[in-house]
Each structure stands twice: as structure tokens, then as C-alpha cells.
């Protein structure tokens, strides 16, 4: 890490735990009597508590958004290139919150937590949670932190769906929504990919119907395959071609079923890495939350009606090579916002990286986000 990067880092951070004793009625109908959320904060909350920004995570990330841990300096936050002093979301002006969503596997209450009803890990019995449930719990965390209204809620992909949902569920509590690489719901193709991932997990003999903790095992192989499938959808064809092409791992074909091509090696590596730290039950639930997200569904499929009550201003960003949530899907959101005469800016970033572009350090993308936060800072006097 060079000195310039270091100066722009929030530095050493530590997670905290918020406990909630007020029962939570989930969309599924199940009620959780109590739960915990792990979160991190960066920057300082200003005197009138107006400079808070919530950063929502996507499928495989969590509350560790920026900075690094004292005892694990290589564990840098997943959006560290976006958040820090002098970065697009500038922690000298904003108080930034990252939270691990309910059902997660990074410390918040989830399938690995103890079910108070049985005294054992929830496992398969942990309820299915939705984007709306997450937003409700995030609002309760905001209550605990004394934040009435967020200057902005921001996210990419599934995180962006949470930002969008915030504008519908708590319109009076959000000033701006930064909706990046998003879709107003999943397409049949998106759901199909998720279903294959879930099948890979549940077909793993170590899955044990989701109660694998009791068997002291994990469906690692299934999770690997699930991640490999997911990963393909995050990259563009061009990006894969330029990164790997048909390059061979050992310079020759092996005439076996082991790794021949670099792309195979890469996917296996990604799968292995992921299955080391991620929990299969959480993965199942997060993919379901993605599948279920569809704010227009309650309004006859009309997104414009769904967004009628939203009052936030929006920055919507898509990436040209994102085929998972293509620019067309973002334009659906923009159209619904225009129908409601909401303040909206829409940018289509010409980036080669596919869906993953939202996590990468692209100058045009970051300049735009920086300029937008600059506008928010001016509004709130931060």
C-alpha cells in the first residue's frame, strides 16, 4: 500500500454489534423475537445528524466496507476504493455506515446463530429474509444510532435494490439514493442462474438439508459451484476474453478432466476462496432475497406506481457491458422516476468489466459519484 493510498484510507476500523429486542415480523410471516446486526462506521456524525450515509452490501460482502482490521491488515473493506478521506464518498464530510444484513454470515444474526427456541444453530430453519426486511432492520439500526434521516443510501447490485427499497419504505428518511448496477427485479434468466446455484448447494451430500452444522461439515463443493456460476454472470464476455482468452494453464492440453484453461483455474480459485469464508445457508437466503425483490409486484407490475411515494433524489448508474443487470433494467427505474417527476440523474458508464464494474476503480464512474456527493454535501452543509 503506497503512502497516497494510505492517506485516503479510513485506516484501522473495528466492527460493533447492535442488539434488537423488539420483535421483527418478516415478510414471510415469521417473527424474530430478537436479533443482532454487526456494523462499522467511518467518519463523524455531525451536530445535526444530517450527514449519515448508509452503504448496503450485495451478495457476498458485508459490513466491512472500508479500511482494514488491526489484526488482519490484508482484509481491506470491499468498497475501500469508493469510501475514505478524499475518496468519492468522503469520510471527512460524511458519516458512513456499513451493516451486515440479517441472515448474513459475518456476525449478524443468521443461520449460524443459535435458535433460542431449540438452543441449537438455526441452520435450515432460519427464515427466508427479503430486501424489505433488511431495510426495516437497517432503519432500526439508524434509530439506535440516532439517525432520523440518511443524507444518502447507496449500493450496487443487490445493495442498490436496498437503496431503491429505502425510497419506497421510508421516503421521509432518505435524501438521496445512489442506485448502481441495479434492476427493478430479476429476469427469468437471473432467477435461473440463482436456482442452479441453489441446486448445486442442496445437491451436495454435505448439505444435510441445511442442517450441516450439526454434522460438523459444510457443503463446500456445492458452494464452490454456486460461486463459479455467479462469478460468470459478474464478468462480461469481452472481459473474460481479454483476461483469459483460451490461455492454457500449463501451456498444453492435458487430455484429462483436470484444469486445462486459465479460466477454469480462475473459477476454481474463486470458488475455493468463497467457500472458505461464506456460509451456504446465507447464500441460499441471499439469492432468494434477490429473486423475491420486485417492488412493482404489489402495484400490478407498475414500477411508476410503486415509486409514487418516493421523494428522494436519485443517481442511477449502469455499466454498458453489464449483462446481469443491463442498462435497459436501470432505464426502467429511470423511466418510473421520470413518470413521477423525481429528481434523477442517469449515467451509463462505458466500462468493459460487466456487472463487477460497480466495484472497480473507474475514473469516470468515481468522478461522477464524487460530484454527486459534493452536491449532497452542499445541500446539507457538510
Amino acid at each position: 500500500m503506497d503512502s497516497i493510498t494510505d492517506k485516503q484510507s479510513v485506516g484501522v476500523v473495528a466492527p460493533r454489534v447492535a442488539k434488537f429486542e423488539q420483535p421483527l415480523k418478516l415478510r414471510s410471516g415469521t417473527t424474530l423475537d430478537s436479533y443482532e446486526l454487526v456494523y462499522e462506521t467511518y467518519g463523524a456524525l455531525n451536530a445535526d445528524r444530517s450527514n449519515a450515509v448508509l452503504v448496503c452490501h450485495a451478495l457476498n460482502a458485508a459490513h466491512h466496507v472500508a479500511g482494514r482490521y488491526a489484526d488482519d491488515p490484508d482484509n481491506v473493506g470491499w468498497w475501500d476504493n469508493m469510501i475514505g478521506p478524499g475518496k468519492p464518498l468522503d469520510t471527512r464530510r460524511f458519516y458512513v455506515i456499513g451493516v451486515n444484513n440479517l441472515g448474513g454470515c459475518h456476525g449478524s444474526t443468521g443461520p449460524q446463530s443459535v435458535n433460542p427456541g431449540t438452543g441449537r444453530a438455526w441452520g435450515a430453519d432460519f427464515p427466508v429474509v427479503t430486501v424489505e426486511d433488511w431495510v426495516t432492520t437497517q432503519a432500526r439500526l439508524a434509530d439506535q444510532l440516532g439517525i432520523r434521516r440518511f443524507a444518502a443510501v447507496m449500493g450496487g447490485s443487490l445493495g442498490a435494490m436496498q437503496a431503491l427499497s429505502w425510497t419506497i419504505q421510508f421516503p421521509e428518511r432518505i435524501g438521496h439514493a445512489l442506485v448502481i448496477a441495479c434492476a427493478p427485479n430479476l429476469s427469468a434468466q437471473n432467477i435461473a442462474f440463482n436456482e442452479i446455484a441453489r441446486q448445486a448447494i442442496s445437491a451436495d451430500p454435505d448439505f444435510h438439508g441445511g442442517h450441516y452444522y450439526e454434522h460438523n461439515t459444510r457443503p463446500t463443493q456445492g458452494l464452490r459451484v454456486a460461486r463459479m456460476i455467479g462469478h460468470i454472470t459478474y464478468l462480461s464476455d469481452d472481459e473474460m476474453a481479454s483476461k483469459f482468452g483460451r490461455q492454457l494453464r500449463n501451456g498444453k492440453l492435458n487430455y484429462t478432466f483436470d484444469v486445462d484453461f486459465e479460466i477454469e483455474s480462475y473459477l476454481r480459485h474463486q470458488g475455493n476462496k468463497f467457500s472458505d469464508y461464506f456460509d451456504a445457508n446465507t447464500y441460499l437466503r441471499i439469492t432468494k432475497a434477490l429473486d423475491y425483490f420486485d417492488p412493482a409486484a404489489a402495484h400490478g407490475g407498475n414500477l411508476s406506481v410503486a415509486l409514487e411515494t418516493a421523494t428522494a433524489s436519485f443517481l442511477v448508474i449502469s455499466f454498458t457491458t453489464d449483462w446481469r443487470f443491463s442498462p435497459e433494467r436501470s432505464r426502467e427505474i429511470v423511466k418510473a422516476l421520470l413518470d413521477n417527476r423525481r429528481d434523477v440523474t442517469y449515467a451509463e458508464i462505458d466500462a468493459p468489466h460487466g456487472h463487477d464494474a460497480f466495484l472497480l476503480d473507474d475514473a469516470r464512474y468515481h468522478r461522477l459519484v464524487a460530484a454527486y456527493f459534493d452536491r449532497i454535501a452542499t445541500e446539507i452543509g457538510a
Binding site: 443517481l315 432505464r331 429511470v334 423511466k335 421520470l338 413518470d339 417527476r341 429528481d343 434523477v344 440523474t345 442517469y346 449515467a347 451509463e348 458508464i349 462505458d350 469516470r364 468522478r367 461522477l368 460530484a371 454527486y372 459534493d374 452536491r375
Partner: protein
């Protein structure tokens, strides 16, 4: 907002026409100067459409709503009659499908406003007679690097409107920031029109 609206004589004319609080769509809005000017002068909800990344960034910096897109590909993201005015300021001469763009303007907006450099301006004519394509303040490009592919005269535009069901409501012809009433197609360098669909 650093308004360089004074450099754009057409802005004041447009602002005069736009009713306070009106919904405005500015096609090819660039850095959003006109929209910022209109917001300042007229209030209301304005949006720009711009294709260029730098324009989008500048619009955000100028506090203007902007949608990135290619207006040549139509305005499918905008509902019928969703704007009071759709503006095409000094862009008509640079679009490929001029007819389609004007048609889309009048689908999305109740009224259209266009401004364009008048190719019939005497200085332009003189340069052509002298044997060269015109180069001037309003037409600052050489023939080989100009984005202006559909230049027209005031007469050409009015013929176009007549033939394409466009009803002109108002016209201002300008030169150097002031209105020209005498022989406008000869003495005016900039044309500003407000129009609607012919009934």
C-alpha cells in the same frame, strides 16, 4: 452555477417563452447551462439528455438532472406528452435523423423549441460565393471536422415544418444578441423557433 448564458443569445429568448414552473426537457444539454439558467429564471422540473460523459459530469456539478442517452435513438424512455417544452438548442444541425428527432420532440412535449445557426446569413452566403464553406463564430468548424451535417436556412426550416405537420408558434431571428426583423434569412445568424404539432 457559473452561467455563461450571456454567451448564448438564444437562452434569454427561450427563457422568455418557458412559463414558470414548466416541465422542460433539453436535448443535447451539454453541461446543463441552459437548464441551470432556466431553473434559476423559471423554476420547474428540468431534465437534460446528453450522450457525452463529460457533459453528464458537468451537469451533476451544475446541479442539473440529466439522463445519459443518444437522442438519435429516439426518446423511448420518455412518455407521451410528459413535458411542456422539449428544447433542442443549437443541436438540430448536428443530428443525423432530424425529422425523427423533431417528431419525437412533439411526441414527448406539448411544444418544441429549436435554435440553429442560419446558413442563409449573408456572411455565410458570401463565404460560399467566395468559394469556401463558411467558418464563423456560430459555425466555428472546418468542413472536415464539423459536427454540423444538416445545416439549413430559415426558409428551409419553415418549409420542413410545413411539410412535416409542424405548426410554428413563434420565431425570433437574432444577430449578435439582438433581434432581426428585416430580411431575417439574410441578416440573421441565429434562428429560434417555438412550435407544436399541426392540428
Amino acid at each position: 452555477m457559473k452561467t455563461n448564458a450571456m454567451q448564448r443569445a438564444d437562452f434569454a429568448a427561450i427563457a422568455n417563452w418557458v412559463k414558470p414552473g414548466a416541465r422542460v426537457l433539453d436535448l443535447g444539454c451539454g453541461d446543463g447551462t441552459l437548464l441551470a439558467y432556466l431553473n434559476e429564471q423559471r423554476g420547474g422540473a428540468g431534465y437534460g439528455v446528453e450522450i457525452d460523459d463529460d457533459g453528464i459530469l458537468a451537469c451533476v456539478e451544475n446541479g442539473v438532472n440529466v439522463i445519459q442517452g443518444d437522442l438519435e435513438r429516439g426518446l423511448s424512455g420518455f412518455a407521451d406528452g410528459s413535458f411542456d417544452y422539449v428544447i433542442l438548442s443549437q443541436t438540430l444541425q448536428a443530428v443525423r435523423s432530424s425529422e425523427r428527432v423533431v417528431r419525437e420532440m412533439l411526441r414527448v412535449g406539448r411544444e418544441g423549441i429549436v435554435t440553429f445557426p442560419n446558413f442563409g446569413y449573408w456572411r455565410n452566403r458570401l463565404q460560399v460565393i467566395g468559394g469556401n464553406m463558411p467558418v464563423s463564430n456560430r459555425l466555428p468548424y472546418q468542413w472536415f471536422d464539423t459536427p454540423n451535417i444538416h445545416l439549413c436556412t430559415i426558409t428551409d426550416f419553415e418549409d420542413f415544418c410545413r411539410d412535416h405537420g409542424v405548426h410554428i408558434l413563434e420565431r425570433i431571428v437574432m444577430r449578435g444578441g439582438s433581434a432581426v426583423t428585416l430580411l431575417p434569412n439574410l441578416l440573421g445568424s441565429l434562428a429560434v423557433y417555438r412550435f407544436e404539432r399541426a392540428r
